[in-house]
Amino acid sequence: MSESIALDRAAASSRATTLRARVLDWLSQYAAFGAIVVTLLVAAVMAPAFFSPGNIRAVLIQTAILGIVVLGQTVALIARGLDMSVSATMTFAAVLVGESASSGNFGLLAAQLAILVVCVGLANGLLVTWRQVPPFVATFALLIVVDGARLAYTHGQSANSAPEWLAQIGSGSLAGVPIPVLIWLALLAILFVALALTSWGRWLYAVGSNRESARHAGIPVNAVVMSTFFVTALAAMGAGVLQAGYVGYIDNTLGANYGLNSMAAAIIGGVAFTGGRGGVIGSAMGALLLTILVNLLVVMGLDLFWQRIVQGAVLVIAVVIQGLRSRAEQS
């Protein structure tokens, strides 16, 4: 009897002592949401044009495309990896789609896209698992190689227009919702469930939290790490194709900023750089926040350079909150 009271008390105290940690944990997961609300309030005062239906639509579609890349990046970050090569994969995929506009050969396009994803995923995955190259170095190398391969393939020729069917997907709507947004939300839902309720999802967190414990616990660590690079490549490919459809043409800079932006969005959304924690809802918020901020600056007529400063500042704030969180947990 007295023992059960003591147990209850102990449980209560552990809850109390972790309150600060919990607040910071919650903050780092959902700070992006609060920041979005604040930004929208600022927009309402300073730039009502932000809320024009056309602009809202643009923001949502841009968020969706970044958001798809972020989904992949989140998976990689949870397993304590990252993928710098997503921007190259995006652009290459878009170029392949652009070519299919003239050839009209869907089978060939599908095969080309599949080969692209498999090659990039396999190369990154093998370098990291088999050769134990740090993910940053491996994927940075792949970024250069894939960009180079694209230039060699196109002989530097860039501008191409997207095929008609794709332009309809990229800028079309279903029940008033832009199709890219629907695709993003569907993928988000799938990944949300996969992370929470599949072995693969749990393994990602375990591998990211402690790779050696994971090995001892009978988790196929190398296969899990390998899988993350296929997910990032697949997400980047999809985002590249959608981006081509939305913008309507393909050029050499189509994917340019997505590597860093996708990582920034995930980190802002509470995914830890040190692996093992975070989720897709938070990182989706991060993608939305980044997109809104950039768009707002454009709407307010601020110089483009300010975008970078604001993006950087937001990232710093996010990382500081994460740092406070891990300190609070250790005390």
């Binding site: 449980a11 105290s13 967190y205 375990a206 616990a217 093992g276």
Partner: protein, 518 residues
């Protein structure tokens, strides 16, 4: 409170103790961790603090070293009374702590680490030569021949510990606190550490020594203070204590049968059969069998091959030669496949190889059992909760809060979670590497009972441990490693602590395995 402080004053003629704490109280978020605790350390004394995990030992140390501020009470250091101490003040007053995890900088030399924060100056800034000389002098006083110019990253754990102790002497610390220094050492290294501690005592310093190993507490310390649930129990000279009386003081009751009863003969074919297993440079031609229901102990010094054997059994070490069979079938080569075949290994280093820090108790408990929790494609939350509830009850994990971060549990409870992770799958062969390291006495006894229950249920159990008492209490047979070879196989009836230690430390005169029992 004032009265307590004055009554604690030393009688005239008697020197004030090095350190005296009176009426110390400390609560965290309203939950008391220490209640009216006292403690006294004399110079030239090794004073052990004993108690189960959560008894308040760590909190007390942190109060002495200034890391925590007590809610009430007095800290007297060499007669000077304080109500609070900052870490800086504590250091200046000569209090140094040698922590379980070392705070050394790996890419600086031994000498630089010892004098960090107070590097001896030369004509231009820091003088490496003077630091080296002074470090060598201190190490010499500790009876060590360690080269002060070596990088800390090249040192063994025992050598690093010595550097930490050396750093305490560099500050001329009078009060040296050692927080479970023996958990990271093997028996040879332990003897060296004990020698160092005795030298410090001879120099007139006071040493606070915390250890879970009772033989060590009784053999090394002059006095022991026991805490239980944050309360002071007693302080007595160790010469007046026995193993049993110490355990009784720590857990507040008699442990009538600390080790479960293991009697009854079994004869059957071995469930785990190892034949000629060789891991390059580590173990050579190891053969042994474990029958269903049998508990076999593996003894040996650190580095003798115990851990390598455990790891090789589940494919974590390269198996260059030999066979491993589980019930006649060849054992697979990954931990995952081994678990499927019914062979599990609970690793030695709980922190590095066991737990997933920052994740919940439930996550840690179920991570190896996910495939059993699925309905269709997805993990079923009700099934998961059922498994967690069952395992928490079966393995008596406290507190029973499945959402709690695993690192907030005591060492013993973390170990129960790790055991639960593996054993909830009802394996046929269980390999345990140091299953009770860093675990308090009460949890130890519970773990022994658990292991016994699995053996009674027909599992074959192999326990590697550096705690010979544990092996003697638990096992039907004990095999002994010496430099990567099995040198003895001793049945329970013939096993003695002396015999095992002799086999583990002295090379066999006859080459090959000495097979005492079939």
């Amino acid at each position: 409170m004032n009265a307590a402080a004055t009554s604690g004053k030393a009688a005239p003629g008697e020197p004030a103790p090095l350190l005296r704490l009176t009426g110390i109280r400390k609560s965290f978020s309203g939950v008391p961790a220490l209640r009216d605790v006292r403690f006294e350390l004399r110079s030239g004394e090794v004073h052990a603090i004993a108690g189960e995990n959560g008894a308040g030992k760590s909190t007390l140390i942190k109060i002495i070293s200034g890391a925590y501020t007590p809610d009430a009470g007095t800290i007297e250091i060499r007669g000077e009374a304080f109500s609070t101490l900052s870490p800086r003040q504590a250091r200046a007053l000569g209090v140094a702590v040698v922590y379980q995890e070392f705070n050394l900088l790996p890419y600086l030399t031994v000498a630089e680490n010892m004098f960090l924060g107070d590097l001896p100056g030369g004509r231009i800034g820091y003088s490496a030569r003077r630091a080296t000389e002074r470090a060598a002098a201190i190490l010499d006083r500790l009876g060590s021949k360690l080269d002060p110019t070596r990088l800390v990253s090249e040192l063994t754990v025992a050598e690093q510990q010595l550097v930490e102790i050396g750093a305490a002497l560099a500050l001329d610390a009078q009060v040296i606190i050692m927080d479970e220094p023996s958990t990271v050492l093997d028996n040879d290294e332990l003897a060296v550490l004990h020698d160092v501690v005795r030298r410090l005592r001879r120099e007139g310093r006071g040493i606070i020594y915390i250890s879970h190993r009772l033989d060590e507490v009784l053999g090394l310390a002059d006095r022991v203070t026991v805490f239980k649930d944050g309360e002071y129990v007693l302080t007595v000279p160790t010469s007046e204590m026995t193993h049993d009386s110490l355990i009784r003081a720590m857990i507040g009751r008699d442990l009538v049968d600390f080790f479960p009863d293991r009697s009854g003969e079994r004869d059957a074919k071995p469930l785990l059969a190892v034949d000629g297993l060789t891991v390059p440079k580590k173990i050579f031609g190891v053969s042994l069998g474990v029958r269903p229901g049998e508990i076999v102990g593996v003894a040996g010094l650190g580095g003798s091959g115990k851990t390598t054997l455990c790891r090789a059994l589940v494919g974590l070490e390269e198996r260059a030669a030999g066979t491993i069979r589980i019930g006649g079938e060849a054992a697979p080569s990954t931990p995952r496949a081994c678990a499927r075949a019914g062979l599990v290994m609970v690793p030695e280093d709980r922190k590095a190889h066991g737990v997933f820090a920052g994740h919940s108790l439930a996550f840690n408990l179920t991570i190896s059992a996910l495939s059993r929790l699925k309905s269709l494609l997805l993990i079923s939350p009700p099934r998961e909760r059922a498994l967690v509830d069952r395992a928490m009850a079966e393995f008596d994990v406290r507190p029973r809060n499945p959402a709690l971060d695993i690192t907030k549990l005591s060492g013993g409870n973390q170990q129960k979670v790790v055991l639960g992770r593996w054993l909830s799958g009802e394996p046929r062969v269980i390999v345990l590497d140091e299953p009770t390291r860093g675990v308090d006495v009460g949890a130890k006894s519970e773990i022994y009972r658990l292991v016994e229950r699995f053996a009674t249920g027909g599992a074959a159990v192999l326990i590697a441990s550096s705690d010979v008492t544990e092996l003697l209490g638990m096992c039907d047979r004990i095999v002994v490693f010496h430099q990567g070879r099995l040198v003895a196989d001793i049945p329970r009836s013939e096993a003695t602590e002396e015999g095992i230690i002799r086999a583990a430390t002295i090379a066999p005169t006859v080459s090959g395995n000495v097979r005492v029992a079939a």
